[in-house]
């Protein structure tokens, strides 16, 4: 509740200033792991994200339990054994576009974008940089990015019995459509 009031207050402030903050409530963030034994993909379509075209500030928040797996048992293990989603229900990112001068939010087009900031998963916060694109079209902005991460980075222990089924490098894809008002 407190964070929400803060967020809404921030939103209101930004709306008073010249540029309007962009928002999504149905951001699609998914990950993919592939080993010779197993291919896993899990999708979260409910990420909340904000993007401030004036400052380049970018923030995401999502619920771990919102990741949908093809198999129920995998989803259960992911939540209970690895991510401990009852204890750490959310993951978040807060950062900035570092090449903001190369992006014109007033002109339609696809711009290469670089973002860096801090990501928090499983109660571990680490710096993260990613490259991707921002596609400006009319009033909407579509952000696409891919980056690699490991379970180890976030203090997630993978038991040796399933070690061969989970890739060392897990690919995370961000596919988010921002609009001015939602």
């Amino acid at each position: 509740m407190k964070t929400k009031i803060l967020f809404l207050a921030m939103l209101a402030l930004v709306q008073i200033s010249q540029a309007q903050k962009l928002i999504t409530k149905s951001g699609h963030i998914w990950f993919y792991s592939k080993t010779p034994l197993e291919e896993i993909d899990a999708h979260n379509r409910q990420a909340v994200g904000t993007l401030d075209p004036a400052t380049g500030e970018m923030a995401f928040q999502l619920l771990i339990k919102s990741f949908e797996f093809k198999r129920a048992l995998m989803q259960e293990h992911f939540n209970e054994n690895y991510m401990e989603s009852d204890k750490y229900p959310k993951a978040s990112f807060k950062g900035k576009i570092t090449n903001l001068d190369k992006i014109d939010f007033k002109k339609d087009g696809v711009y290469p974008a670089e973002v860096s900031g801090d990501m928090t998963i499983h109660n571990v916060t680490k710096p993260l940089s990613a490259k991707g694109t921002l596609a400006v079209k009319g009033g909407t902005v579509i952000a696409n990015a891919k980056f690699l991460t490991t379970a180890h980075d976030w203090d997630i222990e993978i038991p040796s019995v399933v070690e061969d089924k989970i890739a060392k490098q897990i690919e995370v894809t961000v596919d988010v459509t921002y609009t001015a008002n939602q």
Binding site: L8, Q46, Q61, L63, K65, K70, R71, A72, K90
Partner: protein, 139 residues
């Protein structure tokens, strides 16, 4: 029939049943859960939202991972490559319930902005809104 053959037969049958059960358990499809699942909580959208706004922790304890039948007013509908998102929001509210549907479980003829609907899904938590996924249109 000798004792030995009978034993082997029984053993084989038991092994077969165990194998089928293990297979079904391991490869259980996640989607099939909600529609056939019994509703655990029936609640109005504003009441569910309020529970999370007042105390997120206690609402998590009460509603997380539960199959919930929520009734509310459709604020907006959006579509992406994986399915539909219905935003249940009362007219002057600032937050609502975000409900995600797979393409197969959504009927655009039934859901129009402003209409009153029942959505059955699993509550996964609270961000700026209450989040439900694997949703179906309820009765």
């Amino acid at each position: 029939m000798s004792k030995r053959i009978r034993f082997i037969l029984v053993f084989l049958i038991v092994a077969l049943i165990a194998a089928v059960a293990a297979w079904k358990y391991t490869f259980k499809k996640s989607e099939s859960n909600v529609a056939s699942h019994k509703t655990e909580v029936t609640i109005d959208a504003p009441e569910l939202l309020q529970a999370f706004e007042i105390n997120e922790d206690s609402a998590n304890m009460k509603y997380l991972d539960k199959v919930i039948l929520v009734s509310g007013t459709v604020g907006s509908i959006s579509k992406d490559s994986l399915g539909y998102t219905v935003y249940l929001k009362e007219e002057d509210a600032i937050s609502g319930i975000v409900c995600s549907f797979d393409n197969a479980s959504f009927d655009s003829a039934l859901v129009k902005p402003g209409s009153q609907i029942n959505v059955k899904g699993i509550c996964t938590g609270y961000l700026m809104d209450v989040i439900m996924n694997k949703c179906y249109i309820g009765d």
